[in-house]
Symmetry: C2
Subunit: 391 residues, 2 copies
């Protein structure tokens, strides 16, 4: 196990009707003027936005609103949000929605008090020094941004999709009511599942020895999703399953499962080029990329893949041929993702073979750098992974 520092200071306020406590928590964290940042019409239509606003008003907290966040959130709206916050003296950013609204809110929160272009943070040329507090009312379990220090934004000029991590991006509180996820379209529930499982795989696929405990924690997240996602596909208002999925998604990415080990994250970067080019859902892209990445890196650690197959997918260990067991686990993953309606190939995703060189180049490896740590990939390797997505 490697040395680490783990700091997850977010207050998670979890359960039925908790959105009605939003105002109370904003006050606890000294917010006096809030930007409510959200996406499309669903939070309006469902009445959630009204309940949040009532809760703020009841505590005497002022607010302004900025909707319109799209999946794969764009820089344009971030610039708009920063200007609005400056004009209105906003001191607290509240995202109401899923990972896109939260990531956009984090970008705004970093940018308000920064003199330069907020994109500097995503280009890794500047460090945030004075980030406004961010909080969330979560409606989609997927990105884990409600508990993480990460944010991913797409720069519209060139459709560059880039992530930034910083301790100041941990939300001060996150309101998590599983009932708010009842109305998610099945495809969105499935994409969220792929995203959460991918957050685990990025951590699970490591060369760091002696990580027994975090391995087990990772497996717990996967086992829970494999059990509970099909339940909500059949019964969208199953509170218990929705609740388990929602909390598992947070733990999958607040890094409790990932401390003390090298993490990979190549597949996320490989996927980002897919969603940037085709504007497909991040989870759908991950469901396409990850099985290919696993097949490509199988021989890096067959026994680790076999462990995953046996413990998580209940495969029987073939002691004479562990590779067979390892491959069975990957096949089960593909079957599972297909069974909940996710694409696992370029054809199903709507991606094109001829775009592969362009996407691989856009990952942007330079000067002999490689991607990821489990089996570091060069540009040719990345092309090979994309090619394995073609069935």
């Amino acid at each position: 196990m490697l040395n680490f520092e783990f700091w997850s200071p977010t207050s998670f306020v979890f359960g039925k009707d908790t959105e009605r406590e939003t105002g109370k928590y904003v006050k606890r964290f000294n917010g006096s003027k809030v930007l409510i940042h959200f996406g499309g019409g669903s939070v309006v239509r469902s009445g959630l936005l009204d309940r949040v606003k009532e809760s703020l008003a009841a505590e005497g907290v002022a607010y302004v609103e900025l909707g319109g966040v799209k999946p794969n959130p764009r820089s344009g709206l971030v610039y708009e949000g920063i200007e609005l916050c400056r004009r209105e003296n906003v001191d607290f950013v509240l995202a109401v929605g899923g990972g896109s609204a939260i990531d956009s809110a984090k970008a705004i929160a970093m940018g308000v008090k920064y003199d330069g272009d907020f994109w500097d943070f995503y280009a890794q040329t500047a460090d945030p020094e004075n980030t406004l507090p961010v909080a969330t009312v979560l409606t989609i379990p997927a990105a884990g941004s409600e508990g993480s220090e990460s944010s991913v934004i797409t720069q519209e000029d060139g459709m560059l999709k880039r992530g930034r991590s910083h301790q100041s991006l941990r939300p001060v509180f996150s309101i998590m009511n599983p009932e708010l996820t009842y109305t998610l379209p099945p495809f969105q529930t499935a994409c969220g599942c792929a995203d959460m499982m991918a957050h685990i795989f990025e951590r699970y696929l490591t060369n760091t020895p002696d990580v027994e405990f975090t391995d087990r924690l990772c497996e717990s997240v996967l086992q829970t999703l494999i059990r509970d996602v099909p339940i909500v596909m059949a019964d969208p208002e199953h509170y218990g399953a929705r609740a388990n999925i929602m909390w598992a998604g947070t733990i999958a990415h607040n890094n409790a499962c990932g401390v003390g080990r090298e993490q990979d994250w190549a597949s996320h970067d490989i996927e980002h080029e897919l969603s940037a080019l085709y504007d497909v859902a991040h989870g759908a892209g991950l469901a396409t990329v990850f099985p290919a990445f696993m097949k490509y890196t199988l021989k890096q650690d067959i026994m680790r893949y076999a462990q995953l197959a046996v413990r998580v997918w209940n495969c029987e260990m073939d002691y004479t041929n562990p590779e067979k067991t390892a491959r069975e686990g990957i096949a089960k993953l593909e079957q599972f993702w297909s069974s909940i309606g996710l694409p696992t190939s370029f054809q199903e995703l709507g991606a094109k073979e001829e775009d592969i060189p362009q996407m691989a180049a856009k990952v942007g490896l330079k000067d002999g750098n490689k991607l990821g740590s489990f089996q570091p990939l060069d540009t040719q390797d990345i092309e090979n992974v994309y090619k394995l997505c073609i069935k």
Copy 2:
């Protein structure tokens, strides 16, 4: 799953040599004059105390010292610590040691700015309002106090052992170097293991439905300890196993595994009377009480006990007789604890049958109140659990 709020703001600074960063972290959390609180000679002899003091001095942080904390920490030293902090204008309490030093430090931190008797907090007749920041340099993985909001103190007048939980008791940081645990005597390592496993059992034994995910997290802690504690018994300087044990102990009790479910905690109260009366190690008392408690409450939820037996102890499920499987799991627990040198009976612990009525009465149930939530116990039930400890 029940509604919950989860807030674990402690910075966990984990790994080799991290005690040398103590001063840096004290400064980050604005400590200017520190009480270093510790137990016996081992932290002195090992040189740990000197390294911590050097680290404070290097950052220009002043300190005073108070050693002498005993297992089952006593109120007398707490009063002394409170007086010392007041006299010396201490604004930060740093525990160097295990759960006893940390719990004593928490009691002092609550008491310094409180006008009344600090015992009021443990008698639940007052709430802490102005607690000094507490931090830890952990040397014994066991109590989980380095990440928890709990503290347990024994009032010397009457040997009453009582706990207090409060959000302000979460340490601001905890330094966790697994190497510091190499020199623990085997019995102390074993007692720590029992304590950590007990923290999981108190959460695992619940009637709350739909807790699949936290069940899995709980099982991960148990599986890790069952694998890694025997490793360090044979090879005390196995860094990887020591590291897994240490981090598992924190996660076992910072409540990440326990959110959203009723927890029991009857066994801890039943044990407290044992360690108060005989001054035995808390972990040894738990190893004696828990199997008895499990046998006594088996029929409350046979399938939950069977799940534990199958998933954690690798018992084969007897589908025609689940109770047999459930009992097998409890037997495996007793065998495991015996195998690492723990007592699992009154005889081995040195407790006496004739003291049972006195101990059961001292748990202090009044007015028809019952203890715990899984299968609430009255005073007669508590006597029956003690009796099951006699073999």
